[in-house]
């Protein structure tokens, strides 16, 4: 029965020792360790969270950049397409304009040529007329050496002029 009987002295000393230990450990022991461990745990948790977030953000950025690249590519394609269209259009326009111009030039040239030809023809006629006049002058001068022949000629000329003046109105009427 001795074993089952708590001794007063032992109770006293145990209470004292346990009390002191409890006080010291509750004050300087476990809270320090627990606080440190908990802080570390929180830090690790938050670090992991931050890492996750960073990863997510990176992923998002990667996606974004891919989208940007894609968009740029599409834009480039579109620009190229529109440029080529523009080019075709410009070339077509130019071609059309050029052909118009060419036609115009050709027409002008043709017109000018016609005019020049007519002028040449006219001048030719005039020269032919002048030549004929000169020749006839030479012929006449030769014939007019003789007086009578001069008179004859003058008469004939007058006749002719008369006939011509008569014939002209007839021509006009006709």
């Amino acid at each position: 029965m001795g074993l089952l009987q708590p001794e007063l002295g032992l109770i006293f000393w145990t209470s004292l020792a346990f009390g002191v230990v409890l006080f010291l450990l509750c004050k300087f022991g476990f809270p320090v360790i627990l606080r440190s461990v908990e802080e570390r745990r929180n830090f690790i948790d938050s670090s992991i969270e931050a890492a996750h977030e960073a990863e997510e953000r990176l992923e998002r950025v990667t996606l974004d950049s891919a989208a940007i690249v894609e968009k740029a590519e599409a834009e480039r394609q579109q620009i190229l397409r529109s440029a080529s269209e523009e080019r075709d259009r410009i070339v077509g326009d130019a071609r059309m304009k050029a052909s118009e111009e060419a036609q115009r030039i050709v027409a002008e040239a043709r017109a000018q040529a016609n005019e020049e030809r007519e002028q040449i023809i006219r001048e030719g006629r005039q020269q032919v007329v002048a030549l004929a006049v000169t020749i006839s002058e030479r012929l006449l001068r030769g014939e007019l050496q003789q007086k009578e022949s001069q008179i004859v000629l003058a008469d004939r000329l007058l006749d002719e002029i008369n006939k011509a003046s008569q014939a002209k109105p007839q021509n006009n009427e006709a």
């Binding site: 001795g2 074993l3 089952l4 009987q5 708590p6 001794e7 007063l8 002295g9 032992l10 109770i11 006293f12 000393w13 145990t14 209470s15 020792a17 346990f18 002191v20 230990v21 409890l22 010291l24 450990l25 509750c26 300087f28 022991g29 476990f30 809270p31 320090v32 360790i33 627990l34 606080r35 440190s36 461990v37 802080e39 570390r40 929180n42 830090f43």
Partner: protein
């Protein structure tokens, strides 16, 4: 790997010690070596019962070993308050192992106070004075407390200047941290519930106090080896601490559960059956804590001592028998020491868990009703098995 190697080394040391300590005769201690006068009983039969009870019981001196006729003991201070109302303080070596009296005080050899200090009054009666002696158990308790403080405060010092991003500790601090974490996550947080921060230091202290005392009790070399947690006074104080922690911080709902539980009214009035049961339950809970720890550790010590005694009890049966029985004794001792290592942890764990459950139940409020029922079932399942254990242990002791 280093950690595993350390643990194995520790186990080997702990397990190897009893056999070694028995044979080791040269211990360098600041002990008082005394020549015993009477060595007439040398040839007598070994009294196993008195050896075992002597080792697990308390005494006024710390007996380390006996070499031939010499008892190597550490005398401890005796502090008693005599009938005259004065405090007497003297070394237990003055009592000459109970063979002498000093200032009227002597150790009773028989009777009600056998083994305790008694005072011889003028009219020839023996009375028990108020006795606050530093006995073997108290001295062991102090040593163990010093070890515990050294360990925990030493480790805590390393944590004091920690920043938020300080790396985790390695080595011993890492081991201690791991144990603390496992107690926190395994017992305190789930059992106590949302209020756990308030009680965590107490429960951790209780755990480590019991654990260190249990382990030190297993080491057979001075200054360890005192049977501290196997003493009912020590477990009484521990149980009392839990009792106070439970009832001083109990909520209104907790007290209502006790005096006006939710049972059919005829169980409460006119005869308050349920309140009476609940009220008795207030005391049986810490009582079971007290007995459980005490009986487990006491039984462990007793078994190891009995196994060791086999070596000496069979000494007269011839060399062959004695050799064989010694081998059996050592093997069984090794096994028991391993088992006691487990028990040392388990009892600290169980005590802490049940304390946490009781505290958690006393923190019960209406919002936490669901938690409470879960805890209750845990408490009940935990209650049953140790009770069963206790019966087995007492049977073992009887054997």
């Amino acid at each position: 790997m280093r950690f595993v190697a350390n643990i194995i080394l520790l186990l080997v040391l702990l397990v190897g010690c009893p056999a070694w300590a028995q044979s080791d005769s040269l211990m360098s201690q600041t002990a008082v070596v005394e020549q015993t006068i009477d060595s007439s009983d040398q040839s007598e039969e070994l009294d196993v019962k008195s050896v075992v009870l002597g080792h697990i019981g308390d005494s006024y001196e710390w007996h380390i070993c006996t070499v031939g006729d010499k008892h190597i003991t550490v005398p401890l201070p005796v502090i008693v308050r005599g009938e005259d109302g004065k405090w007497h303080c003297f070394s237990s070596s003055k009592l000459h192992h109970g063979h002498a009296s000093y200032e009227g005080f002597s150790i009773a050899e028989e009777g009600e106070y056998a083994g305790k200090i008694v005072e011889q009054t003028a009219d020839g009666e023996q009375i028990r004075p108020i006795d606050l002696s530093i006995t073997k158990t108290v001295a062991g308790l102090f040593v163990n407390c010093a070890v515990l403080l050294l360990i925990v405060l030493g480790v805590a010092r390393r944590y004091r200047n920690d920043k938020v991003d300080t790396k985790a500790k390695g080595g011993f601090a890492g081991v201690l941290e791991m144990v603390i974490e496992s107690v926190m996550d395994g017992i305190i947080i789930p059992c106590v519930g949302p209020n756990y921060r308030k009680f965590a230091p107490y429960l951790l202290t209780a755990f480590f106090f019991i654990f260190v005392n249990n382990l030190m009790g297993l080491i057979p070399i001075f200054p360890a080896g005192a049977n501290v947690t196997g003493n009912i006074a020590v477990t009484f104080v521990l149980a009392m601490a839990t009792f106070l922690a439970v009832n001083l911080f109990g909520t209104k709902d907790y007290w209502k559960e006790i005096f006006w539980p939710e049972v059919p009214t005829w169980l409460k009035v006119p005869i308050p059956i349920m309140p009476a049961i609940e009220f008795i339950g207030l005391f049986t809970k810490p009582f079971s804590l007290m007995i459980r720890l005490f009986a487990n550790i006491l039984a462990g010590h007793a078994i190891i001592l009995i196994l060791t005694c086999i070596v000496f009890a069979t000494a007269k049966m011839g060399a062959a028998v004695n050799g064989a029985m010694s081998a059996v004794s050592v093997i069984l001792s090794i096994f028991m020491n391993c088992l006691e290592l487990l028990v040392a942890f388990l009892q600290a764990f169980v005590f802490t868990m049940l304390s946490a459950v009781f505290i958690g139940a006393a923190q019960h409020t209406e919002e936490h009703a669901e938690d409470h029922s879960a805890q209750h079932s845990v408490a009940h399942s935990a209650e049953h098995s140790p009770e069963h254990e206790l019966k087995q242990e007492t049977k073992q002791i009887e054997k």
